[in-house]
Symmetry: C2
Subunit: 289 residues, 2 copies
């Protein structure tokens, strides 16, 4: 494994490819929008206008795309060009159905495949501190570990095909709901004239403690520095949280009794998005309950 292809050079991909470029591997980038190529040229990172060339020449191909539709298109149209023993890795956060579909497709072409969505956002991508949640064959995972280590600080093998996406969706379902719980408590505390510094002090060290409080307390001037201290500039955008909750809802059976809180949370973040707050940080939900 020497040649790595990277498809999708948006906010995340643009940072991730730079970190791989610092490694021993040869890297070749591709995006449908060619404007980004100028910035990569300036960094001496190779790009190509031919996505087929990526599949024909690379041993490992990473896709980092905005949604399942884009991933399905890239994999469907191009796996036939990949040489045997190539490993294709999707780092996008997408729906379970498409994830299962692309793994099946890879098998048809005798290719190895992993789903490896990340957490950590653009800042994590920039500082190479992403966490990879990986599904697929464990031997393949072990082969790819060194590559993950250039882009992230942690990777966790989550099980068979689709498990990486499943873990990420479950994780963000919990986060989306718990941030709303924290928001309701903050509103109640305000109604009761409680000092929010005291609310933070108690809840961050007791049975209410959670990442949404301890690492991301959504009130300016209290707790660690968070998007709340910067007028809720994302961070992790409301639209991305909305997307991840829709992935959870779409992954469950149609029974509307499933994920009742997840569905309600999706409604809350959707309303924010409808108000024009989609690009603001998801934690601003505490002001929109």
């Amino acid at each position: 494994m020497k040649n790595i292809g990277f498809i999708g050079l948006g906010n995340m991909g643009f940072e991730m490819i730079q970190n791989i470029n610092k490694s021993k591997y040869n890297i070749l980038g591709y995006d449908i929008k060619k404007k980004i190529y100028e910035n990569l040229d300036a960094l001496n990172i190779k790009t190509t206008d031919s996505i087929i060339k990526i599949f024909e020449t690379c041993d490992v191909i990473i896709t980092m795309l905005p949604d399942g539709k884009a991933v399905k298109k890239v994999w469907s149209e191009n796996l036939k060009y990949a040489s045997e023993k190539s490993i294709i890795i999707d780092c996008s956060t997408i729906d379970i159905e498409t994830t299962n579909y692309i793994h099946e497709l890879a098998k048809k072409f005798n290719l190895l495949s992993l789903d490896a969505p990340v957490s950590g956002g653009v800042n994590g991508a920039k500082s190479a501190s992403l966490t990879f949640m990986v599904g697929g064959d464990e031997t393949t995972y072990n082969l790819i570990l060194p590559i993950f280590s250039f882009m992230g600080s942690k990777s966790i093998y989550c099980g068979k095909e689709g498990s990486g996406q499943a873990v990420k969706i479950c994780n963000n379902l919990i986060l989306g709901i718990s941030m709303i719980g924290v928001g309701e408590a903050i509103n109640l505390a305000n109604e009761l004239n409680l000092d929010l510094k005291k609310l933070y002090e108690v809840t961050s060290t007791s049975s209410a403690s959670c990442w949404a409080i301890n690492k991301y307390f959504p009130v300016s001037g209290i707790g660690p520095v968070t998007p709340a201290d910067n007028n809720f500039m994302a961070g992790f955008s409301t639209d991305l949280m909305k997307k991840d909750l829709s992935l959870a809802i779409n992954a469950t059976t149609n029974d509307e009794n499933n994920l009742k809180f997840g569905r309600k949370a999706y409604e809350k973040y959707s309303k924010m998005s409808d108000k024009g707050l989609g690009s603001k940080d998801f934690s601003e939900v505490v002001k929109n309950l």
Copy 2:
């Protein structure tokens, strides 16, 4: 301050009075149910049949009672017997309205008062590792600190009268909601055939991490030992969670748009209680969504 009266010797009070008894203070206990006196006699802990005697002779009087109604009755009927400079402390978890009422009452009688609900449950009471969340005058709080230290491992001054109750209610509102979020994620993970050990491994160390996962993961055999490992024997009972959520709902204005998730959570725990699971641990909610 030498003489401490303790009113309410139920599951919690019975443990708490034993820990004060190990201190330098003289302790005198009272409960409407006299059966418990036998056990206290055996431990050489003094009790009295006269609640008036408690108020007449004690410098510090602690109430630990099941609800606001009981607290209101005890304080209303007996504050007149207390001598000036006595400090009256309510450690019960009760509604904000009653808490404000008893503080006002204490002021009328020129008595000092604190609200100091606890977290940690019966096990915390037994091992003297409770956390006290305290509202009232800060000077009074500082006077009482040594007494709290015999019953708990931590106390936090939360602000003016009622702030202790307010913090506790907000804390448990978050916990009640986040446990349901964790439950929905576990159900989704099961639908997706995800290994729950992997779900625990990822979520306990990332943005979903919370006390409900890290300290109380509600699946047998995964994570720390919790009530899930003991067929959901409480622990913190569903009925107590239901009570605390009702305190939150009653504390907010009548607007039904407030605490939408809190109200939904209350419904979930109520349904469990209606099924006869009220005395089981609240975390069993993950199996009842």
